[in-house]
């Protein structure tokens, strides 16, 4: 009886297959409509812009990228492809616009990579200090981080550049802080390690072997005995390369009458932006690290304390390794922000990608095309950093499993 009723009800409804078909068609139509609307809007904007450009006698083309740039930038190298490996050469007015953009990208990457390394170091230290048992240390670290995060990065950059670096003694009367560091108006000088002249291909080969073996010795997946053996071979390779004349010499900055020369020279612009971004990002990273440490289960601290580990040992051996796993996503976001922050270099005339692109656009009159190129480069950079972070994350997850 129930069966019959159920059937009766069902027959009064449209057959499912028809309804399903209607639903599917409607579904596809709505998707088509959304996609069409977005594409249509983009085309409309593009057409309007195109029409405007043609009415001014400009066509949309990327050909200008290979034309000579006719301007120079203060620093930056662009890759020149001769054979299988690029050689980095400085650019000048005869370089193509593309070469200029490459030099700008080079500077951006240079700042970003250095800043990622050093801001992580400083930030981790600052973050750990936030949890110090000493009230003064704890609150000083907090105040520094707070000050950094509550003021705009641009005023920090302006400050370092105009109020610190440009107020330094002018060239010739340089402040020689020590043998290792020379600071003056024309920039910051550090000793530069370079290969000794006697280093040949044979010694280079041994160095490569040594690096490979020492790196392998650091991998935990090998048993301890193997790792000791690898370490031994690596050290032997170092000895061999040294015997063959391989060495690293330091090129010291020398004070002269017209300013310091030699060594590793950072221009004031480069120094300012590097200091700004390192300090600024360290402020954010300290907060990330602190959050990570505090978020770690309390049980870990108690377990470590029960084992009789000191606070410092606990942080170094138990807490930090685990915290890094937790904070990788936040760190990645910070690294992406940091890379984007380099674009403020334009405010002090540091020739990073955005600054150079502005000059290229002005010189060539190709604002629109240049912005597209530069936007694409920034997109790729961000994606590259996320991809690397994902890779690291997955490796860590695998090691854990």
């Amino acid at each position: 009886m129930i069966e019959a009723k159920t059937k009766l009800w069902r027959s009064s409804l449209a057959t499912p297959s028809v309804k399903r078909y209607v639903a599917r068609v409607r579904y596809k139509l709505t998707h088509g409509a959304v996609v069409a609307a977005v594409i249509g809007l983009l085309i409309l904007i593009a057409l309007a812009i195109h029409q405007n450009l043609t009415s001014r006698g400009i066509d949309f083309s990327f050909a200008y990228l290979s034309a000579p740039s006719r301007f120079g930038i203060s620093e930056g190298l662009a890759p020149v492809w001769t054979g299988w490996a690029p050689i980095f050469e400085s650019v000048d007015a005869t370089s193509s616009n593309l070469g200029m953009l490459e030099a700008g990208l080079f500077n951006t990457l240079k700042v970003a990579l250095l800043a990622i390394t050093f801001s992580t170091l400083v930030g981790v230290v600052l973050g750990v200090l936030r949890l110090s048992t000493n009230w003064l240390v704890r609150n000083l670290a907090f105040a520094i981080g707070e000050f950094i995060r509550n003021t705009p990065i641009l005023i920090q950059l302006m400050f370092w550049y105009f109020a610190v670096l440009l107020q330094l003694p002018s060239s010739g009367s340089a402040t020689k802080v020590s043998k290792w560091l020379v600071v003056e108006q024309s920039g910051v000088f550090l000793p530069l390690p370079h290969l000794s002249d006697s280093a040949g291909p044979a010694s280079g080969f041994f160095v490569a072997v040594a690096i490979a073996f020492l790196a392998a010795a650091c991998l935990r997946r090998f048993p301890a005995r193997w790792r000791i053996a690898l370490l031994g071979v690596g050290l032997c390779a170092i000895g061999a390369s040294y015997a063959l004349g391989f060495g690293i010499n330091l090129d010291w900055p020398v004070l002269g009458r017209f300013g310091a020369t030699g060594g590793l020279h950072f221009t004031p612009e480069m120094s300012a932006i590097l200091i700004t971004i390192i300090v600024n990002s360290a402020g954010y990273i300290s907060e990330i690290v602190r959050g990570g440490i505090e978020g770690l289960a309390k049980g870990q601290w108690e377990a470590a304390a029960a084992l009789g580990l000191s606070r410092g040992d606990t942080i170094r051996d138990i807490v930090l390794p685990q915290v890094f796993r937790i904070i990788i996503p936040s760190l990645t976001n910070r690294y992406i922000s940091l890379t984007k922050d380099t674009a403020i270099g334009i405010a002090i005339g540091f020739p990073e990608l955005f600054n150079v692109s502005g000059t290229v656009a002005n010189q060539s009159g190709r604002d629109f095309e240049t912005v597209i190129v530069v936007m694409t480069i920034y997109l790729l950079l961000s994606w590259l950093i996320s991809a690397l972070a994902n890779f690291v994350n997955r490796r860590i997850a695998l090691e854990r499993a």
């Binding site: 000050f147 005023i155 403020i344 912005v371």
Partner: protein, 325 residues
């Protein structure tokens, strides 16, 4: 009694062990020395006259002198707006007053021309307009990105990811040059274009905050609403969104600080905000000796405003943790 408490506090927090004691003494000495030098400079050596003379440029830029009352009215309106959302009234009323007061502030300031806005006035108005405008946009994109409709989701995800991958300064500059190309017959002031660009950029960040809030709403809430027969629209607007916004409220206030700090970057399109005003003052050779004074003043203003916003955000967060328990 008090001395005993202080003593035990110091023992625990400053002199717990040998290293702590040495650190404490070192830091106290260093801080004391720095503070003495700094205060001596601030009180005797610094030349504050320049700041005082340039206060007008700092605060309102090139805003016409006979129109200054407009800036005061706008300030009063903005205070009303902030007060309205802070007071524990009905949320709807607060938001309504915020919108009306901010709109009125813009309306009052427009007659002398958008190009005349400058200094702190410009920084604050830019922050207010961009934060207010990017919230509804961000909510739309957040819903779009968590929609079940794959094409809508793809479009919103693409937009958010692209905006979050490029620098703000680039987006602002790009919109600034593109808008006139797109609409050549209408002339739109640099400030308006800057606001559009900044909103377009910031909406992507707001969208991600809101989306994290949407994900934080327990599944049971949607299920209960669905089992009452509510439509998707009712569920989104009445049940999910209010709870999501409450969760991300502190983050959104934090975003206001980001907007305020990022507003310094509008120098790229030739606007003179607070920081730029300080730069201009220093360009004047007569002021070249006052670099430190000018930077200290600007840092102080930014730090006070920034700390106030951070404080608000933290208090909201603490309040939220208390009330959810």
């Amino acid at each position: 009694m008090i001395i005993a408490t202080l003593h035990s506090w110091a023992r625990r927090n400053l002199f717990a062990n040998l290293i702590d004691s040495i650190l404490s003494i070192l830091i106290v000495t260093a801080l004391g020395w720095l503070l003495t030098v700094f205060l001596r400079w601030v009180i005797w050596d610094a030349y504050w006259q320049r700041i005082y003379e340039s206060l007008r440029l700092f605060l309102v830029g090139q805003f016409p002198e006979d129109q200054t009352w407009r800036a005061w009215v706008a300030l009063a309106l903005l205070c009303t707006a902030v007060g309205a959302v802070l007071l524990p009234w009905s949320r709807r009323l607060g938001v309504a007053i915020w919108l009306i007061a901010c709109g009125a502030a813009v309306f009052v300031l427009v007659p002398p021309g958008l190009d005349r806005w400058g200094g702190l006035l410009l920084s604050i108005m830019l922050t207010v307009v961009v934060s207010t405008a990017s919230l509804p946009l961000g909510i739309l994109f957040a819903f779009g990105r968590s929609s079940r409709n794959p094409s809508l989701r793809a479009c919103c995800t693409g937009y958010i990811e692209v905006m979050r991958s490029v620098p703000l300064i680039l987006v602002v500059y790009w919109i600034w040059i593109t808008v006139p190309l797109f609409m050549p017959e209408v002339s739109i002031s640099s400030l308006a274009r800057g606001m559009i660009g900044y909103t377009v950029f910031n909406a992507a960040y707001v969208a991600e905050y809101v989306r994290s809030g949407l994900q934080a709403v327990p599944r049971g809430q949607r299920e209960a609403a669905r089992s009452l027969g509510m439509s998707n629209w009712t569920i989104s607007t009445e049940i999910v969104l209010p709870q999501a916004l409450r969760v991300v409220q502190p983050a959104l206030v934090g975003n206001v600080l980001d907007v305020f700090n990022g507003a310094t970057l509008v120098f790229i399109i030739g606007l003179m905000d607070f920081l730029r005003a300080g730069q201009l003052i220093l360009v004047d050779p007569a002021a070249s000796g006052q670099t430190n004074e000018v930077y200290l003043f600007m840092f102080a203003v930014y730090f006070v405003i920034g700390s106030a916003i951070t404080f608000g955000s933290r208090r909201m967060e603490a309040h939220m943790h208390r009330s959810t328990r």
